[in-house]
Symmetry: C2
Subunit: 306 residues, 2 copies
């Protein structure tokens, strides 16, 4: 059995554990707050590694940001991480081999190897949270692109409604199909559709209606809430259809906070009634909250230990 | 040196020649009209093969339609080919190995192996003709998907303008960025924009304005024609940006009849100013009219002879 020290490096905390080549946890999962400057962060990385360096056969990082093709550095800007993060050479942190992968890619790999998409050599993991992220497996390999930045499906333009996205462009998939997108749709419908006048939320300022209000409203049979969620679902399905027509993937795996609100069977039927390729399965992610660490560990194993 | 009999099976004609593993033509390229029923077509395939069967090490077909993962059969409906085409088992046509690939995929492979995208392990070939087609190379392999139908980028929804597409859906990339799309845009602008009143085409019925009129109008400094073409270019770029953000590809190779009207440098700049991944190159295809045959031959060589 091999032992991989896996670290999930996020903007708020660093989470880590020893994992074996089957993705099983060998030690308790530990966590520490992410330091706010690059020197302290580097020191904490070194400290974590030194605690396990004897035992671990290699080190795996799952991190925010686009990772270079050598899996040694983060190359994009990463606003949640300390300044200078993209100048850190991870390979210098240890005498053992160090492997770095983008966290969404790593999580996608975990879903493919031991989660919801086992055996699906062409699959797409879509994260629906505050934003929309994607991890793509093509012919059994991660789609990383020329510079490790591939999979930016949140930036796919799907409409021409002039809704501004957090990226400053218009009409990105992310600006409709994310949790934030649902909230914006709720506000738009409240401001433009007479249906709002008979809603349980009619006294609320449209700007203050939340994602949870909408989900709660559906359970209370509120027509306004149902309409908002229907629009959100159709926008989500529009983006997913675009993806499936290009990738002809076996499955779409949905992860992220919005996942729990969707009926995968319904979404699957909506997609399959419109695509020009053969039918796709829609599933919820099941590799768990630590899928980034697990995926990074399995990728590091494949590269250095197998 | 190996010899591959390569056949391009189109709705109008069958084109064929012996090709070697370098993609070089060893015999004159011959052509014959495509028979209108499946029995006659099968007989003509057999006749072509029997003429070269002694000499050829294997047989390669590039064909319209989605090809199964075993590369032995066309699985989708192919309106331009005789009824029953998708029940034909190509592997039974010869005692030599037979390989079938979708013509767009085969042409993409030719661009990757010896055309405009040599060395670009992540590249996309976009055909802009009557419709819009795509062939995708990811990690140095063809993206074929679970059933060989991948790459249907023409069906990607990019707007919400309710323009109907030939596929009966709305707002497909193909309905904007194809030659047909340019003609529809020309008609729309003529009907809705006052700029048409001072156009050299103002006496024409908007329905009769052709793609060539627009191209010709630009050379005559006609503002209406320039506006139509600008809209078309922006729609093209919208679709290409979506693609590059997902694939982070080195290059986009443009083929098809509309390719000659675009300034690749201008399109490249428009894309690179908006993408969230690193810059892409835009190039014109250069594997030539026989790229489908060449790509199929090289793929057949890789599978059976290398």
């Amino acid at each position: 059995m091999k032992k991989i020290l896996a670290v999930d490096a996020g903007g708020t905390k660093l989470i880590y554990s020893l994992i074996n080549e089957k993705g099983e946890f060998l030690t308790e999962v530990k966590r520490v707050a992410t330091p706010k400057n690059i020197k302290d962060l580097t020191d904490v990385f070194k400290k974590i590694i030194s605690d396990y360096e004897q035992e671990a056969d290699c080190i795996a990082f799952a991190t925010a940001g686009a990772v270079n093709l050598e899996n040694t550095k983060v190359e994009s800007s990463t606003p949640n991480m300390p300044e200078g993060y993209n100048s850190l050479d991870f390979s210098k942190l240890s005498t053992k081999p160090v492997y770095v992968e983008n966290d969404a890619n790593a999580a996608a790999w975990a879903e493919y190897k031991l989660g919801a998409a086992i055996g699906d050599d062409n699959t797409v993991i879509i994260t629906l949270g505050t934003g929309v992220g994607g991890g793509f497996i093509v012919n059994g390999k991660l789609l990383r692109g020329k510079s490790g930045r591939g999979g930016e499906v949140g930036s796919m333009k799907i409409k021409s409604q002039k809704r501004i996205c957090t990226c400053k462009r218009f009409d990105c998939f992310e600006s409709y199909a994310s949790g934030t997108g649902l909230k914006i749709t709720a506000e738009e419908v409240a401001q433009t559709d007479i249906i709002f006048k008979s809603s349980i939320y009619k006294e609320k300022n449209p700007k203050d209606i939340t994602t949870y209000d909408i989900i709660d409203g559906i359970s209370k049979n509120d027509d306004y809430s149902k309409k908002v969620f229907d629009i959100w679902k159709h926008d989500l399905v529009t983006g997913l259809i675009n993806i499936v027509n290009i990738f002809d993937n076996q499955s779409i795996v949905i992860s992220g906070g919005m996942g729990k609100f969707i009926d995968t069977g319904e979404i699957e039927n909506m997609i399959n009634s419109e695509i020009v390729v053969s039918p796709v399965k829609v599933k919820l992610a099941k590799a768990g909250n630590y899928s980034g660490m697990i995926g990074a560990a399995l990728l590091a194993y494949d590269k250095y230990l197998s």
